[in-house]
Amino acid sequence: MDFELTDDQLELQRIARDVLDREAPASLARDIAEGSGSADELWATLTSLDWPALCLPEPVGGLGHGWVELAVLLEEMGRHVAPGPFAATVAQFVPAVRHAGTLDQQERFLAPVAAAGATGALAVDEGAGTWDLAQIRASATRDGDSFVLSGIKCFVVDGASAEEIAVVVRVDGGLRVVVVPGEAVAARELNPIDATTRHATIDLEGVRVGHDRLLVGSDSDDVVVRAVQEATVGVAASTLGACQRILDLNLDHARERQQFGVPIGSFQAVKHKLVDMYCLVERTRALVYFAALAFDSDDDRRAIATSMAKAGAGECQQRCVQDGLQLFGGIGYTWEHELQLFLRRAKVGELHFGSSSSHRRRIARCAMSAP
């Protein structure tokens, strides 16, 4: 295998970093957390730069890049604690439509994303907080030319703002995806610990949608599994980026901050903690890009790769948040310092799409049952 970004991918990474350095400074996230900011302008800029189209298939107007490129962008978004609909749209809504929709349905729902930055979300969990598909009870029932929905969806990223929401429901017992206009559902927005990762609870009860909004590209539950896998790795990539930034901030701090007359980075205890953070960041990056590669190659290790990416990101954030805040000392314990913005972005990744522990157990069960 060749497990390093190509020159083109490295160039994409460089460009993405430059764009976000300029367009998504940490002050934007802070403004949003303080209620005075908006992500709209950033989204307009990214749309003008074709970010929404980049990893969409060419038939719907996309540029046809793969998951590795998407992981590059998502990692940079996390690294900049960038707000806005990018992650939920391209890593949650798009995979659901791509895998579950017919070509026509893909065209209908994805072309607006590629062309004009239409936004989307994905609604899966119903309150357990496990994203376990077996627990899904929400349903869509055929009634004449339309479907009537029932149920509640929780922890829906951008659930109160997305234009279209891919909702996982049961139809005749099987898992299906219905694309519901955001304005059709009642959404209650939460006050999340990371203000740049907005969540809502949405109420589907009695919502009626046209029958052509049921995605019928496949009648297998597997397409839903695949969509949730991609969404999960998207969260891991964003967490990875936030962790990288926490590490970077800490390295700068350790080189500059003086205590007892020397930079604190010369203390062995500080060094060793930073090395452990670095190792976990590198470990997580390996696992996240392995999952991205597995998606791009339709490799049958997708399930375990997904869980490894998510659990890896979770272990990484645990250590980076813990030691990253501790090593900063009092300065990092203020609202003013940007560190807290990245801590919150890193921590929020652990709290959705399944905990590290649940994913580790899946990995082990999977290995136990392998021949």
């Binding site: 205590q259 062995q268 501790q326 009092g330 314990y333 609202w335 929020v348």
Partner: protein, 398 residues
């Protein structure tokens, strides 16, 4: 070794329990909450005053200073009974525990009457001006200067992390009065009234959110402080500084122990009845936190028993380290266990314990973040480990 206390101590406990039952404020009157660690609501001031006047505020002190000359075991059961009921003695903890205590230990009678007693009686609130920007854990490096000019000191410089300064009436400020002396030697302690011209307090929020304000930067620009506000001798501030931090240190572990126990109670309540209560991974980690809680209390009792025998116990140097990290571990566990259910920061802010200093009644996410105050302030865990290694284990300085 034995599990219980002797009769004399139990009699003391009974006496205090009777007093508490007769004097605890009506919970309905406790709706007004503190605004900072020096912004004390009126009902709490009244209760603190009552405790002082009845000799229950600082039981180790003589009666004229709000106490009854209690011994260590009596102080222990006193704190147990307060903790059991979640009763906060003072909502201005640095004022009572450090500022007034330092004045009582090192000040003169006039200073005690003018500041210490009013702070104890909650007529005034106080804050502690110790940390400075850039000095971090290195207290000996403090740079705020005070120059004696006739009957006043002229103070210039800056303090930071001064909890509650914006709500406080007075500050106890450590200043450098002899810039020529070796680092430790030229420090003095001054009482500064916060309405003195040239003193500027700038509160700033901690990482809990823009409205979570307790810390201050405090700027001194030619602030004139009467020389009679000098606590202790000139240039003897290092001793007071250590004394201030050490004050009530003997019993400080009780705070760590009780706040861990409180968090544990909340954690058990949070998990009980959920599927997490049956998750072996959660139980495994929770078991460790329960052990921490017991071990910290037991080690505290061991320290107490040694002190009662006149020994100098090593335990106190590890109790802050263990207590603060145990809280962090537990908060992390609950945050991770609740997962998506912890995404939302909104919490039920209904007061469960009306007498508790509940500015911490927040989401588990914030509770986790706030545990870092414990592992960072008052000497980071890393500094604590260095101290234990060198002073307790006898390892060479690095």
């Amino acid at each position: 070794m034995r599990l219980g206390y002797d009769e004399k101590t139990e009699a003391f406990r009974d006496q205090f329990v009777a007093w508490l039952e007769a004097n605890l404020p009506d919970p309905l009157l406790t709706a007004e909450r503190p605004t900072s660690s020096a912004g004390v609501p009126e009902w709490a001031r009244q209760f603190q005053r009552q405790m002082f006047d009845d000799g229950w505020l600082s039981p180790a002190y003589p009666s004229k200073l709000g106490g009854r000359s209690a011994d260590l075991f009596e102080q222990m059961v006193y704190l147990e009974e307060l903790g059991r009921r979640h009763v906060t003695r003072s909502f201005n903890p640095q004022g009572l525990g450090i500022v007034s205590a330092s004045i009582v230990s090192f000040g003169n009678d006039e200073q005690i009457e003018r500041w210490a007693v009013p702070i104890m009686r909650a007529e005034k609130t106080a804050a502690l001006g110790m940390s400075e920007p850039g000095a971090g854990s290195d207290l000996a490096a403090l740079a705020t200067r005070a120059v004696l000019d006739g009957d006043h000191f002229v103070v210039n410089g800056q303090k930071v992390w001064t909890s509650g300064a914006h709500d406080a009436d007075v500050l106890l400020v450590f200043v450098r009065t002899d810039p020529e002396a070796p680092k430790h030697k030229g420090i003095s302690a001054l009482i500064v009234e916060t309405d003195t011209p040239g003193l500027d307090r700038r509160p700033f929020p901690d990482l809990g959110g823009p409205d979570h304000v307790d810390f201050n930067e405090v700027f001194f620009d030619d602030v004139l402080v009467p020389s009679t506000n000098l606590v202790g001798d000139l240039n003897d501030g290092w001793r007071i500084c250590n004394g201030a931090l050490a004050h009530e240190r003997a019993m400080l572990w009780v705070m760590w122990s009780q706040s861990l126990d409180n968090m544990l109670d909340d954690a058990l309540a949070e998990l009980n009845g959920t599927s997490h209560a049956d998750d072996d991974v959660v139980l495994d980690r929770l078991g460790r936190s329960i052990m921490d809680s017991h071990a910290i209390r037991l080690l505290g009792h061991r320290q107490l028993a040694k002190q009662q025998r006149g020994l100098v116990p090593a335990e106190q140097s590890i109790l802050k380290l263990m207590g603060s990290e145990a809280q962090q571990d537990l908060a992390a566990l609950i945050l991770e266990t609740l997962g998506a259910a912890a995404l939302d920061q909104a919490v039920d802010s209904t007061l469960r314990f009306p007498y508790e200093n509940d500015r911490g009644a927040v989401s588990w996410s914030d509770r986790y973040l706030f545990t870092f105050a414990g592992t960072i302030s008052g000497g980071t865990s890393e500094i604590q480990r260095n101290i234990v290694a060198e002073r307790v284990l006898g390892l060479p300085r690095g």
